[in-house]
Subunit: 121 residues, 2 copies
């Protein structure tokens, strides 16, 4: 039987920031959930587009051309190749939609790289 997922319930299961969790697969794409606190790292993805949908809090996405502020119920699609840096002054909950091959730090490898994200569902 196909079962449903409650997004708020899944966000309640983890606390650590910058660690995307997988909540589902749609063909080659993954539905991920992440909590953001503070500033991430500038990076881009060679091949993968990346959708950020804000569920709670406010997300600042820095681009080389300027910042975009996202409130709950807003999303943005960052095309592959475009440098970006997510920043959250206060905790922010975000849904990510991106190909399964997407690494959270893109072309950068550092202590924040999560090569094998945990599954929630």
């Amino acid at each position: 039987m196909v079962s449903k997922v409650n997004i708020a319930e899944l966000f309640g299961r983890f606390n650590e920031p910058w660690s995307p969790k997988v909540a589902g697969d749609i063909n080659d794409m993954q539905f991920k959930m992440v909590k953001l606190r503070g500033e991430f790292v500038w990076h881009h993805h060679e091949r993968e587009d990346e959708l950020f949908l804000v569920v709670r809090g406010q997300l600042r996405l820095r681009f080389r051309e300027g910042d975009v502020l996202l409130d709950p119920g807003e999303f943005i699609i960052v095309p592959h190749g475009v440098e970006h840096c997510p920043v959250a002054a206060e905790e922010c909950e975000v849904i990510l939609l991106e190909p399964r091959t997407t690494l959270n730090t893109g072309n950068v490898q550092n202590e924040r790289t999560v090569a094998h994200p945990e599954r929630l569902a």
Copy 2:
């Protein structure tokens, strides 16, 4: 410059039910928005998985094994090949995430088939 999208604002731009609108592309996947009222048609998709995320109202997804009721903030992924029939007793707003090749009526072609969905963004 990459620009953001406000989901409520886009839902305010159309009214007709069962006519998915495209709000963005993530590689081969599309972010669509649809309003549902009444009962759709039983169908399946040969190759495409399909995510339904409820934004407003309540969605009943009928499966051959039984129904699943989805409230706002809940989603379900219908794997390819699985027959389903969406039903909304009252108007319901839904986000769809599915490959660009997905036809709304799947293996069925009838008056509700939307071969070329309109773009909102």
